[in-house]
């Protein structure tokens, strides 16, 4: 048996004592992983500089010069559409005196210009202007380029990696594209882009959305139409996936015999819950049509599952969408994907409901949270960007019941985690196996732990 001590010795953790916070084997999980400032520092030193991170979507930067800044702690990059239509990323700092060149999102007017002394670069990062250049020591043009950041795209998502030696994005993503591709994320575009601050560690948020074990206590209304105990958990080597349990039926936890199930009611519970309580989950183009049709009486011998499946598929055809690569389980349910480390959420037929979460500075008790909803568009239809919304206080906005229920947990989770008298934490071996995998992978980066 491998003990914590052996594993810690194998690791090359440089910070004395921090290895004790690793989450190994069946040991209890140290709660300081979520509360310690030293752990935050270790993540900034060993995790964030080395992983591919979702920076933006391609539809946010349709025209040459359009840019989006992506920052993680003190590191900032900006992604820009070049004159030739490519996508590049640069460290967000002037090579002259260091000024940040991009803030938030917007458009460079043909060139990137430093506001301090007016130096300029083309959209490929080559320097085009230095004021009084003859008064500087001569330097090769290459040295006056903006500093590149690796940027690659998958499925309309633009990822950046601050490690110039990082392996290619598609290698990093492992089987994620196998799960994602049938839903055609490259044909989706934004319907919601909301940012807020949550009073908890970023990993608490990732963990909360990486299991369905909390559904019965936190979202009991879902039990009426989903057998959430039947969800399948598929930890990948680096990322995680869970899904299945799509066929509408009451949770086995309710103990309702099959002969007592009312299929019409089941259909209405599912459709109303998804549309009313998870706004954006089913795209707006589909939601109201589905709601209306669910109120027509179910034909005899037709189950809620048959009906939902047929109506969704027929609706997709009517809207010009190609769902031929999606099997029935995918049209009924979907796949909840975690792209390690901080991009997570369900992709369903026709839409994606994703969360991007980052630490908020050095504070282990606060994080920057974004809700991104995407909707699939028919081939040929333009992929557009929506309005961006920012809510500094999450309580100032109506997020929909399900997200609200999750948010209401976070303050109490973080407050409780600070109470070290509670000792180590525990994970369910099956339903929280993706949570465990996330932390094992995190430790691979932080402590060189084997997985």
């Amino acid at each position: 048996m491998v003990t914590t001590g052996d594993r810690a010795e194998q690791s090359r953790g440089t910070r004395t004592g921090l290895e004790q916070l690793a989450a190994f084997g069946n040991d209890l999980i140290p709660r300081e992983r979520f509360t310690s400032r030293e752990f935050v520092e270790l993540e900034y030193e060993r995790l964030w500089p080395r992983v591919w991170q979702v920076a933006c979507r391609v539809e946010e930067i349709p025209a040459p010069g359009d840019f989006v800044e992506y920052s993680i702690g003190d590191r900032s990059a900006f992604v820009v559409r070049t004159a030739s239509g490519d996508i590049r990323a640069f460290h967000n700092t002037c090579i002259h005196r260091g000024t940040a060149l991009a803030s938030g999102c917007g458009s460079f007017n043909g060139e990137i210009r430093c506001p301090f002394h007016g130096w300029r670069w083309d959209l490929d990062g080559d320097n085009t202007f230095v004021l009084d250049a003859h008064e500087f020591p001569a330097e090769p043009a290459e040295d006056l380029r903006l500093r590149d950041v690796r940027a690659e795209t998958y499925g309309g998502f633009v990822f950046v990696n601050f490690d110039p030696d990082a392996r290619p994005l598609l290698d990093y993503l492992e089987e994620i594209p196998d799960y994602f591709a049938p839903y055609r994320p490259e044909r989706m575009c934004f319907t919601t882009h909301k940012t807020t601050i949550l009073p908890t560690n970023w990993k608490v948020v990732v963990d909360a959305f990486n299991e369905g074990y909390h559904i019965s206590a936190t979202h009991p209304e879902i039990l009426r139409w989903k057998d959430e105990a039947a969800l399948e958990y598929t930890p990948l080597h680096t990322h995680t996936r869970y899904g299945g349990a799509g066929w509408p039926m009451p949770s086995r936890r309710l103990g309702i015999p099959s002969e007592e199930v009312d299929e019409q009611e089941l259909l209405l519970f599912k459709i109303d819950d998804l549309i009313d309580n998870l706004p954006g989950y089913i795209g707006p183009a589909e939601a109201e049509a589905l709601r209306a049709v669910a109120r027509t009486p179910l034909p005899d011998d037709t189950t809620a599952g048959d009906f939902y499946l047929k109506r969704r598929r027929d609706g997709a055809v009517a809207r010009g969408l190609d769902w031929s690569d999606l099997d029935d389980d995918q049209v009924l349910g979907g796949d909840d994907l975690l792209v390690f480390p901080n991009f997570i959420g369900p992709v369903i037929a026709g839409a994606f409901f994703g969360y991007r979460v980052r630490p908020n500075g050095m504070d282990p008790h606060s994080c920057i949270f974004e809700l991104w909803t995407l909707e699939e568009r028919a081939g040929g239809a333009p992929l557009t960007m929506c309005e961006r919304e920012v809510y500094p206080d999450w309580r100032e906005h109506e997020w929909g019941l399900v997200v609200q229920q999750d948010f209401e947990n976070f303050e109490g989770i973080q407050r409780g985690l600070k109470n070290s008298a509670g000792g180590g934490l525990r994970w369910n071996l099956r339903q929280e196996s993706c949570v465990r995998r996330f932390h094992e992978v995190l430790d691979r980066y932080l402590f060189d732990a084997p997985t």
Partner: protein, 110 residues
């Protein structure tokens, strides 16, 4: 005489003790009543609808009324009278509708 409560669609008849809730009477008689919070008026999963009541029922407490107001069932059937089985006190002649009330012995643990 102890209050008797009928549960549809199973047709089970519960004999309650005075002051006992419908859910407590069912559990004591060896039935399983759907719940995930275990009788804390939190999950709403135990909700029943009142089919017939011989006398005006005691009004729901603020706690119970708040939880009932959030029930998805109420959106589907706004005319029905929903109550929480973990809070409503059994009265004689009460008939309620609740699916999934089955002998506990026949239920596989989840």
């Amino acid at each position: 005489m102890s209050p008797r409560v009928r549960v549809e669609p199973s047709g089970i008849v519960l004999e309650a003790e005075p002051g006992e809730t419908v859910m407590a009477a069912a559990l004591r008689a060896g039935y399983r009543w759907p719940t995930v919070c275990g009788g804390h008026a939190d999950c709403g999963v135990c909700a029943l609808d009142v089919v017939a009541a011989p006398e005006p029922l005691a009004a729901a407490s603020a706690e119970e009324a708040d939880r009932i107001a959030q029930l998805p069932e109420l959106r589907l059937y706004p005319d029905r009278t929903y109550r929480l089985a973990c809070r409503i006190v059994a009265v004689d002649g009460l008939t309620v509708r609740k699916r999934g009330v089955v002998p506990a012995a026949g239920v596989r643990p989840v």
